[in-house]
């Protein structure tokens, strides 16, 4: 009977495609928007994956990794003196203006690393040698910075090791190119030594943005971070803590999550509306047939099962198409990396469940109608 149920629905081409189309659209909307949202959220914490420190110490009022309030240089030593800290190094983080060969100004994300340890250095060097950052006026740029549309402007090709540009009228010589995860602000990364970064940045009274620290081997990072906070009055985060705090900040201080969630909920609602409407009219149009089946001895539960089965199958097909389109979207933009896109297996299952819930709701209206159907109607003209 279930096979026949499917054929009944497939026989109605218009409704079938309407259902599949509506569900595909709804799944596409939900999964695509969610993936972009996840990608965007990932961008807000990319500093942490590009610098990979164990403990992040910031000024006491700072809530998230993209925000800086300058600290005193002496704070580094205060952190170093906390028991359980293996080492602690200063970090400069700031958005500066760079000037390209053709005189254009480009914003960059400047990161100044402690020259002794280079702690916080990018994970993947593509070209060059990071240790050359210790030479004067040298920088390591990421692949985004090297692009013709960024610092390569005026050179006519992506920047290579040995090329130069200017930051605040000071020469910056490229000694290496690295790969980074893109940052929320969209500016390319330029790494230099901490001291060099202070030369590039406009002079201010306090210049220390963050302190990166490593606990002694075998010690619990969270415990050490807690101790740093207690003893210095600064704020210290472990990676998960800073990630959570940053995301919390995005949720409470920006409209981004709400606007994405609205679209996702809208996708769900549109799915329910289109699918419920179409499926219900399918049931209404087939009321005589369903009545005949009922007269011939199909029980309410069998008919309910058939309707549910029909709805679930179109749900799976629609979801398949929707997720396929989302994947296609993801692959297409994977090259440019924009808009951000982060697929998530859990969400794929969640949205599949959402689509199946949509279908179950749609079927439910039909099932209610059929349950109330008098089989005797088939004798009426």
């Amino acid at each position: 009977m279930f096979l026949l149920a499917l054929k009944m629905l497939l026989g109605d081409r218009a409704k079938y495609w309407m259902l599949v189309g509506g569900l595909a659209f709804s799944s596409l909307l939900m999964t695509q928007q969610y993936s972009v949202f996840q990608g965007l959220l990932a961008w807000t914490t990319s500093h942490m994956r590009n610098m990979r420190a164990s403990i992040w110490i910031v000024e006491s009022r700072v809530d998230q990794v993209n925000e800086t309030k300058a600290m005193r240089d002496t704070d580094v030593n205060r952190v170093r003196s906390v028991e359980g800290v293996d080492f602690a190094v200063p970090l400069f983080q700031g958005v500066l203006k760079a000037r390209t060969a053709d005189g254009a100004d480009k914003m960059i994300q400047m990161i100044g690393l402690h020259s002794g340890t280079l702690y916080g250095r990018p994970p993947h060097m593509i070209e060059g040698d990071i240790s050359q950052l210790r030479l004067p006026n040298s920088v390591v740029i990421d692949t985004l910075a090297a692009e013709v549309t960024r610092l390569g402007s005026g050179v006519g090709r992506p920047l290579k090791v040995g090329d130069v540009f200017e930051i605040n009228d000071r020469e910056a010589r490229v000694v290496g190119i690295c790969k980074t995860e893109r940052h929320f602000f969209g500016y390319p990364y330029v790494f230099s030594s901490y001291d060099q970064a202070l030369q590039y940045a406009p002079r201010q009274r306090k210049m220390l943005s963050m302190i990166l620290a490593e606990p002694k081997p075998g010690l619990d990072t969270a415990v050490v971070a807690q101790r740093i906070m207690a003893e210095t009055g600064l704020r210290a985060f472990t990676v998960p803590q800073l990630e959570a705090s940053t995301l919390r900040w995005v949720w409470t201080n920006t409209g981004i999550p709400i606007s994405f969630l609205t679209t996702i909920v809208l996708g769900f609602v549109v799915g329910v509306a289109v699918c419920g409407q179409t499926f219900y009219s399918f049931v209404l149009e087939n009321l005589r047939n369903l009545g005949a089946l009922k007269a011939m001895g199909a029980s309410n539960s069998l008919l309910a099962g058939m309707l549910l089965f029909q709805a679930m199958i179109v749900g799976l097909i629609g979801f398949g198409i929707g997720i396929g389109l989302t994947a296609l979207f993801g692959l297409t933009i994977a090259q440019s990396g924009q808009p951000p896109f982060k697929a998530n297996a859990v969400f794929v299952f969640q949205s599949m469940a959402a689509v199946l819930v949509i279908c179950a709701l749609a079927a439910l209206f039909g099932i209610r109608r059929v349950a109330k159907l008098e089989p005797a109607i088939v004798f009426r003209g």
Partner: protein, 264 residues
């Protein structure tokens, strides 16, 4: 408990009824069926204590003027409509004593349906349509389709199993409906106006098929009609008027009834 059914005829059956086709065991018995539709001012009493009986091996017509309650009675007898009062007994099973799901199961096993508008499922092939009652009874698809194919052959539609109902004429569709009604060998076949959507010749072909079906042992075919052209196929005719069965014609009385009806 089992008080015998009293004849309800006014032309009255003779004490020992003279019947050409001696009635076998009781197939359908109904007593005092009352059914009302609607409430308040809109309330219509469709059945006002109707009594009815039909025997096994019989093709039994229910006739009467429009609106007298024929379809309603048939629905109650088939267990697709619950009566307000009265008892229905089908082949020894008291339908009124069964739960809703038991009635559904009983219908599934024992009753075949033929509707005026055929009611074939338009998106399913003929063989799929015909196999529905078997599938509902839990027969496996392959076996159901084999039996359905054989039934289609018996009603003269061999080789057209994979066609859709819309590709057939009305008479052919009604044959498919007959094949569907008989495929699971039901004991009771219920037909509401099976010929009224068909021309005279096709109507006769359909009736031939149905009267052959009625000869199967233990079977009873009930037909509601107001098409006098097919009265000749009946073993018995119950006449309804205003919510009751008023006359039952059988044997010689049947012939004279048919004669007078066809003249008028």
């Amino acid at each position: 408990m089992t008080t015998p059914f009293r004849p309800v005829n006014s032309v009255s059956l003779p004490a020992t009824p003279v019947v050409c086709n001696p009635p076998g065991d009781l197939a359908v018995g109904a007593r005092g069926i009352v059914k009302a539709f609607g409430v308040g001012d809109a309330r219509t009493l469709a059945l006002k204590g109707a009594d009815f009986e039909a025997s096994q091996g019989e093709l039994h017509l229910i006739v009467g003027p429009s609106g007298c309650g024929k379809t309603t009675l048939l629905s109650v007898l088939a267990g697709t409509l619950l009566s307000d009062q009265g008892e229905v007994n089908l082949f020894g099973t008291r339908l009124t004593g069964l739960s809703a799901s038991e009635v559904t199961r009983f219908r599934c096993r024992n009753i075949g349906f033929i509707f005026q508008q055929f009611n074939l499922i338009p998106t399913l092939s003929l063989v799929e349509n015909v196999s529905v009652p078997l599938l509902l009874n839990g027969t496996l698809r392959r076996e159901a389709e084999a039996k359905a194919t054989e039934r289609l052959r018996q009603v003269g539609l061999a080789g057209r199993e994979r066609q859709l109902p819309t590709q057939l004429s009305g008479g052919q569709q009604q044959r498919v409906a007959i094949a569907r009604a008989l495929v699971h060998e039901p004991r009771l076949v219920i037909c509401d106006e099976p010929t009224s959507a068909l021309d005279s010749l096709t109507g006769h072909q359909i009736m031939e098929l149905l009267s052959t079906a009625a000869k199967a042992p233990g079977r009873c075919v009930l037909i509601v009609t107001h098409d006098p052209r097919i009265y000749g196929y009946a073993d018995r005719i119950s006449v309804m008027e205003d919510g009751r069965v008023t006359h039952v014609h059988a044997g010689v009385l049947l012939s004279s009834f048919i004669h007078s009806e066809n003249r008028s």
